[in-house]
């Protein structure tokens, strides 16, 4: 629905189409009994006492309402997907030019490798900020081959990068259902009930300990929380780029988690030195002294190595299970 059509809609029709508008009016202490009017008439009908409480003039207030409406419209129309992202080299900590650039398509996984302090966080910061040679690294980010529009930088509705790390916890005092519903509502999504069920189902595929939608999010175990965060990010987050930091010991099926994100056409960055995770990436970006050193493409030989590593991984898990059961490890190999 375009802005043009909106100007013929009454307040109540707009609220029906964009439910968060109601909250906007409530936050401003504006009356809800006059929403049968057109916006123009509605704002004209407000008395001076109500206006004074908002601290805004009639015209300013209506403008603000229109800005918010536009913001909601943007959330609704924007699917947040991007085709590709290119990161153009700038300079490292010593001011040495970076000779590489990184081109990533949606559905691709890129692993970041390099010691602590090699500049991984700064790189992700550049992506999040859509750097245009205006950060210390002098890097530049283009989306689908173009310089991104300025408003992308500050608009929370279009946040480009979603982050997942070991340190993140749920802090809201709500159930899994309420939590997912709230997130979906903030994206102005329809079919919320259905979406919630899908996300819970996906999350349960990632964790060994299954959970229902009526438990409080704060009572989920570490593995369950991580699983829910990943399933939620895949399905409901606006961000087309997902950054994962150190989920080595998260207690979830990491391969499935990555598959889920990629299946939603996300671009996934993962900072890891876990060989199996690292080899799941299509590309590997090597960082050193704040700079991008090189981009490695995963080779056929490496794919073979991945299979062997996965076999070893299964053996180790098997051994762990045997230990748990109080068995001997003699028949492992």
């Amino acid at each position: 629905m375009g802005l043009q059509q909106n100007s013929f809609l009454k307040m109540e029709q707009l609220i029906k189409e964009y439910p968060p508008l109601r909250g906007f009016l409530e936050n401003m202490n504006l009356p809800l009994d006059k929403i049968t009017l057109l916006p123009e008439e509605y704002f004209r009908s407000l008395d001076s006492f109500v206006l004074e409480e908002t601290g805004l003039g009639r015209v300013e207030l209506q403008d603000l309402f229109q800005s918010y409406l536009q913001h909601l419209q943007m959330i609704k129309e924007d699917q947040g997907s991007i085709g590709s992202l290119t990161l153009w080299g700038g300079q490292d900590k010593a001011g040495k030019p970076e000779e590489v650039h990184l081109h990533i398509q949606r559905g691709e996984i890129v692993c970041l490798v390099g010691p602590t302090g090699s500049g991984k966080s700064r790189l992700l910061e550049d992506i999040e900020w859509l750097a245009q040679q205006d950060t210390v690294t002098r890097r530049k980010v283009t989306i689908d081959g173009n310089v991104p529009r300025e408003e992308l930088r500050f608009s929370s509705g279009r946040k480009l990068v979603a982050q997942l790390s070991q340190n993140m916890n749920f802090v809201m005092d709500v159930t899994v259902y309420e939590f997912l519903k709230m997130h979906a509502e903030s994206r102005l999504m329809k079919n919320i009930e259905e979406l919630v069920d899908i996300v819970v189902e996906q999350a349960n595929l990632l964790t060994g300990e299954s959970f229902g939608k009526d438990v409080p999010v704060t009572s989920l175990s570490g593995g369950q929380s991580r699983a829910l965060m990943i399933a939620d990010t895949a399905a409901l987050s606006v961000a087309p780029v997902v950054l994962i930091d150190e989920i080595e010991n998260a207690g979830i099926n990491r391969s499935k988690a990555l598959e889920l994100l990629v299946s939603r056409d996300k671009i996934v960055f993962i900072a890891t030195h876990d060989p199996i995770l690292a080899l799941m990436g299509h590309k590997r970006l090597v960082m050193k002294n704040g700079g991008m050193i090189k981009v490695l493409e995963r080779s056929e030989k490496e794919l073979e190595a991945l299979e062997k590593l996965q076999m070893i991984d299964r053996k180790i898990n098997e051994a762990r299970q045997l230990l748990r059961e109080g068995a001997k490890l003699e028949s492992l190999f």
Binding site: S67, F154, M168, M182, S186
Partner: protein
């Protein structure tokens, strides 16, 4: 000199955000100072001192801290100019969530943190609603969904504010904030400037030190709650 007002609920990360941003500004050869407004006591002067940031503390004591701020802001501006700052930042806590130190024509920043709960933006009032820049902190310890919902709720209160996510510990995002700070215009005087929102009308006997409870001790502006009568 550039002037900015930074406010936000207690413990939201104002001092960390300001300190990290000033460190970035310094790297660019700029000299910034801080005036910290607080009510009873503050430890922040020591934190600024530790980082070598020139600062001045104003304790409002028995007065409303925001009334105190407005009454002293011109003096602060003169002090900042005398000190030769390129940029002066005022920091205040907006303790009752009703006040706002923001001045028309002076860039206004509000710092909120992700741990406050999703209903906090709604309750925060003018200091959030009239901010040009909203900084959200502590995003590194909550889930992506909570960050998104929190930012959404902030937009619902302040649709035009620029939202920046900042990590007060690592300083992630302060480079961008420093850039926005530098967009502020130069200010020589605050004469004829106006607050963005009125201060609360507080002029009753309790403002003047009355402690006794009871109808006969209440004078000045008052407001009574309405309760349902039991039949």
């Amino acid at each position: 000199m550039k002037l900015l007002t930074v406010c936000g609920p207690p413990s939201s990360g104002k001092t960390s955000v300001i300190t990290k941003t000033i460190e970035i500004l310094r790297q660019q050869g700029l000299n910034a100072g801080v005036v910290k407004f607080d009510c009873l006591t503050t430890h922040d002067d020591a934190l600024y001192e530790e980082k070598g940031i020139k600062n001045k503390v104003g304790l409002s004591d028995s007065l409303c801290p925001d009334h105190f701020l407005v009454s002293n802001i011109e003096g602060c501006l003169r002090w900042g100019i005398d000190q030769g700052f390129d940029l002066l930042i005022t920091e205040s806590a907006g303790l009752c969530s009703r006040c706002s130190p923001h001045i028309k024509g002076v860039p206004a920043v509000c710092v909120m943190d992700n741990l406050m709960g999703i209903n906090t933006p709604k309750k925060t009032g003018p200091m959030l609603r009239f901010a040009d820049i909203v900084v959200i902190t502590k995003g590194d310890i909550v889930s992506q969904a909570e960050r998104e919902v929190f930012a959404f709720r902030i937009k619902q209160v302040n649709p035009r504010g620029k939202i920046l996510h900042i990590n007060g510990i690592t300083g992630q995002g302060t480079f961008q904030l420093a850039g926005l700070f530098m967009e502020a215009g130069d200010i020589r005087t605050l004469k004829d400037k106006e607050l963005r929102y009125s201060m609360p009308s507080a002029l009753c006997s309790y403002c003047l030190g009355e402690r006794q409870i009871g109808e006969e001790f209440q004078m000045g502006s008052g407001k009574k709650m309405v309760f349902d009568e039991v039949k």
